[in-house]
């Protein structure tokens, strides 16, 4: 059965439930698509077709489980028992997970088929998926360009019809930015909404798992499956999970949409700016009220982020030492073994961040860097609280620019860091955000992402706004020619 791979999760679910297609047919169709185009895209690092088909045969696709028979791809940072989990790093080469992440268990319980593993920046550090020890993933809209990062493989897979849905992780924009650059929907849930158990940590106080989908309704469906309290993650919040689907279709009439004064930055691409402004106009036409809000500490976000995230990472990545698992490079004594293992196992960007974080936590520098960054983080959180007193959702560009060419920024890490400016503040505040397609640049044709931000645990409102916009536009239906 051809063409199945182009369907959304909802479309697919209807056909599966009606018995028009089987889970095996769906999976096979997707595997065929991957076999056909992944040589170009290189979204998948690892795939086990036999295992995927076995899972498909075992599932009751006509049952009422929310994701029954639907294959979902995993970023290589999530543990799936029996599958490799390398975080695209040489240091975890050959490591096979011994347990399922909580989200993986939830997906299995929802009837999903756990598909292959998608490429990423090593340990989720990067904005282009170029920092992968495995290889470079390409943007489906222009194979010379990067898909964004760090969850570039998941974004490219969904945008290139190589997955119906995928999971990624977002520490500073790693779901929303690649979703924007590839032209799909990417959600970063509120911190504590989704259990992090089984997600290999980059920066524990910022990481959240979230879905990539082809439309907003699918995103709401997937969030419903993966959210909820988990006793295995002390930072997951014991709040009931709302019926996200019910938030869809209620329109934006009466909602106040905030535009952030500080988002008019230098370096904001003219076409991106125009597309976002047009989207705001569209929301106004649909009945939303537009208000101006201020996030006065936004200019400090990148600095604060690169202190807190690297500090946490320096400790989180200390466990990769060659003693218990992963790659080991022998040495004459244990210190030499550590040095060789880590020296050869980690890539340049990961080392850069470990060194930055170690420095920020060092005696004599802690107060000036880490402590001060935490204080500014509190101010940033308060900025959002104040802004959300004036509006129900905030709208910004997801990324100041569209997908750039592979290799274009690899020599300038600071420039790469600055491209996270619109997404990072959300992780620092712990709130939620979604990126949806809102247009294309003219030449070459590249997707532009609209970021919609909400209050903590108010994913319903951002789904509502995103869905209303999506229903009124056709951007999400455009497909790259592969």
């Amino acid at each position: 059965m051809s063409g199945l791979h182009t369907l959304s999760i909802h479309e697919l679910r209807d056909r599966l439930r009606r018995g028009e297609v089987s889970a095996r047919e769906v999976t096979q169709s997707l595997l065929d698509r991957i076999a056909g185009v992944d040589d170009k895209l290189k979204a998948y690092m690892w795939l086990n077709p036999d295992d995927a088909l076995r899972q498909a045969d075992a599932v009751d696709a006509k049952g009422d489980k929310p994701l029954a028979g639907i294959p979902i791809a995993m970023k290589d940072v999530l543990n799936v028992a029996g599958q490799p989990c390398t975080c695209a790093s040489k240091i975890l080469k050959g490591h096979v997970s011994v347990y399922d992440a909580t989200v993986v268990r939830q997906l299995r319980e929802a009837g999903a088929i756990i598909l292959g593993r998608t490429n990423m920046d090593e340990f989720a550090m990067g904005s282009s998926t170029e920092n992968s020890s495995w290889g470079v993933t390409r943007n489906p809209w222009d194979l010379e360009r990067i898909p964004g990062g760090s969850s570039g493989g998941s974004a490219a897979a969904v945008a290139g019809d190589e997955a119906f849905g995928a999971l990624g992780s977002d520490t500073g924009g790693s779901i929303r930015q690649p979703a924007a650059l590839c032209g799909c929907v990417g959600l970063k849930p509120t911190y504590g909404r989704v259990s992090r158990y089984g997600l290999v940590a980059f920066a524990s106080s910022l990481d959240q798992i979230g879905p990539f989908t082809k439309n907003v309704a699918d995103s709401a469906l997937m969030l419903g499956v993966i959210s909820g309290h988990d006793a295995g993650d002390s930072t997951s919040v014991p709040r009931p999970v709302p019926d996200y689907a019910a938030a869809l279709g209620r329109g934006v009439k009466g909602l106040r949409i905030g535009l952030v004064r500080e988002c008019q930055i230098e370096g904001l691409d003219r076409e991106v700016d125009a597309a976002v402004k047009a989207a705001v106009k569209k929301l106004e036409d649909l009945g939303a009220e537009v208000v101006e809000v201020s996030l006065p500490h936004m200019q400090y976000c990148v600095a604060v982020y690169y202190i807190i995230a690297t500090a946490e990472a320096s400790a989180n990545l200390a466990r990769f030492d060659g003693v218990r698992y992963g790659a080991r490079v022998a040495g004459d004594d244990v210190i030499e073994m550590y040095g060789r293992t880590r020296g050869q196992g980690f890539g340049a960007e990961v080392k850069r961040r470990i060194i930055l974080g170690t420095y920020a936590l060092s005696a004599g520098y802690y107060d000036a860097y880490y402590l001060r960054a935490q204080k500014v983080r509190t101010l940033i959180r308060q900025d959002f609280e104040k802004a959300f007193q004036k509006c129900d959702a905030i709208v910004t560009p997801t990324s100041p620019e569209v997908a750039f060419k592979a290799g274009e920024k690899t020599d300038d890490p600071l420039k790469m860091y600055l491209s996270d400016i619109f997404t990072i503040s959300v992780n620092l505040a712990g709130t939620c955000g979604i990126s949806i397609p809102c247009g294309f640049t003219a030449q070459p044709k590249l997707p532009v992402g609209l970021q919609i931000l909400g209050k903590s645990f108010d994913e319903e409102t951002i789904f509502r706004v995103a869905h209303a916009y999506e229903q009124a536009t056709a951007w999400h239906k455009e497909r790259p020619a592969l």
């Binding site: 940072v77 999530l78 543990n79 989990c85 975080c87 975890l92 490591h95 997970s97 011994v98 347990y99 992440a101 992090r196 158990y197 089984g198 997600l199 290999v200 940590a201 920066a203 524990s204 106080s205 006793a231 295995g232 993650d233 002390s234 930072t235 500090a311 946490e312 320096s314 400790a315 200390a318 466990r319 990769f320 030492d321 003693v323 218990r324 698992y325 244990v334 550590y338 170690t358 936590l361 060092s362 005696a363 802690y366 880490y370």
Partner: protein, 457 residues
């Protein structure tokens, strides 16, 4: 010159909990290597810690016993350093907000008590090393004292008192051989009369209380010798070698770790509510000193007996059961103190009370009592059964004794004559004859009374 030592102790105590600090693995000692492990305590990629509430409760209980202020809003921190016995290469510990602050053990001040996770155990073979992670993640409580001790004896007394308290509260078994209680010492010396502390040296690797005492003794004289030679001491960490009885340098100040503490983002702060605190307060055991005083008051025991009994919680518990309702609690204490292993003895407390009662009632002699007690220790039988079985009961029947007395008087005219002539000692000979005729069963006191009456009459 005369020097004064200044000593502070850092004591690590493994808490007696069924599961580890941040995962569900068992904490039992002595299992085969790496059999009590899971992805969490092995530090696998992607795992997260979950607090063990029991361990927090036991730490707070310790704080209450020591008289600490309980921190109502404390938190966890990461202590960063690389070592093969550290699964994550950071230890989850408490840095600036420990669970308990202040307090005293005896006269020595306590600075703080915090909770952390124990590390694994390294083994070194000929050409390789191995790590057993069974211990990794065991709840570990660190009790830091003030530099209030001035001699190795004071340090040993602090440890004994602390151990007694922790055992009585069921916080830990404190078995030093199993590493359940471990001690590092900070020691410096200063000329008597000087206020400023000398350069402090940390000593590690002391595995017994007597080891602590010896290590401190050695280190104090070593430091005094260095100063007497006109040399300077430097801040350093030294390792105690129990076999040679000496300390040697492990690392100097320049190689001190920068642990880069920062708040643990994977755990929520520890909030101690009023309700939790009250719940734990109800678990407070009677502290050893208070118990000793009560034993002296309630049972009329000498200080020595109270000390011996209270030092062993099982012994004290046994004693209290035996002494309940007894008219002679001191006699009960004598018997109970003579039991070598109270937890293994088959004797029941009520039987000790029975034994004291039958002796006091004159049914058997004290000497017979010892034999009965020995049999009780061996069999767990009641003294009444043993007395009946062996026909030990004293003959206190005056009629029977009178018959023996008459026989003795008739057979020993010389003794009778001696007694009548004023030789009181001759009575003992006659008494001996009565005992002999009764095969030792006559109540000796009664026999004496009857003989006296007959001879005078």
């Amino acid at each position: 010159m005369n020097y004064e030592a200044v000593i502070g102790l850092e004591v690590h105590v493994q808490l007696k909990t069924r599961s580890k600090m941040f995962c569900g693995c068992a904490t039992e000692f002595g299992a085969a290597p790496n059999t009590q492990v899971c992805p969490v305590c092995l530090g696998y990629p992607g795992v997260l810690p979950v607090m063990n509430a029991k361990a927090i409760a036991k730490t707070i209980l310790t704080g209450l016993m020591i008289g600490c202020e309980i921190t109502r809003h404390s938190k966890w921190d990461r202590k960063n350093y690389f070592y093969p016995d550290m699964p994550k290469n950071y230890q989850i510990s408490q840095y600036d907000l420990p669970l308990c602050v202040g307090g005293h053990v005896g006269k020595c001040g306590v600075t703080r008590i915090h909770l952390e996770e124990d590390v694994a155990k390294s083994f070194h073979f000929d050409r390789t090393s191995g790590v057993d992670f069974n211990r990794a993640g065991t709840p570990l409580m660190e009790i830091v004292s003030e530099p209030d001790m001035r001699s190795p004896d004071e340090a040993a007394a602090y440890l004994v008192a602390l151990k007694e308290m922790l055992v009585s509260g069921d916080v830990s078994d404190c078995d030093m051989e199993k590493g359940q209680l471990r001690c590092d010492a900070n020691v410096s010396v200063r000329p008597v009369g000087q206020e400023k502390f000398g350069e402090k040296v940390e000593i590690k690797n002391m595995n017994t209380i007597s080891g602590v005492r010896r290590a401190l003794g050695y280190e104090i004289s070593r430091q005094a010798t260095v100063l007497d030679r006109g040399e300077k001491l430097q801040q350093e960490t030294r390792r105690w070698d129990d076999e040679t009885g000496t300390t040697s340098v492990m690392r100097t100040k320049e190689y001190a770790h920068d642990y880069r503490y920062f708040p643990e983002p994977d755990l929520m702060p520890v909030i101690v509510s009023d309700e939790l605190l009250e719940e734990i307060r109800r678990l407070l055991p009677e502290l050893p000193e208070a118990k000793r005083q009560r034993f002296i008051r309630q049972y009329g025991l000498p200080e020595y007996d109270a000390g011996v009994l209270v030092a062993n919680a099982a012994l004290a518990g046994f004693y209290e059961k035996a002494a309940a309702g007894s008219k002679n609690p001191k006699a009960i204490s004598n018997w109970v103190m003579s039991v070598s292993d109270i937890t293994a003895t088959p004797i029941r407390p009520a039987h000790v009370a029975d034994l004291v009662a039958v002796i006091d009632a004159g049914r058997i002699s004290g000497k017979q009592g010892k034999d009965v007690f020995a049999r009780m220790l061996a069999t767990g039988m009641s003294p009444v059964t043993i007395i009946e079985e062996q026909g030990l009961a004293q003959v206190s029947d005056a009629g029977a004794i009178e018959a023996f007395a008459d026989q003795a008087i008739a057979a020993n005219p010389k003794s009778v004559a001696d007694y009548k002539a004023g030789n009181e000692a001759a009575l003992n000979h006659l008494k001996g004859q009565v005992m002999k005729l009764s095969k030792g069963k006559a109540n000796p006191q009664l026999a004496g009374e009857i003989l006296t009456r007959k001879l005078r009459g």
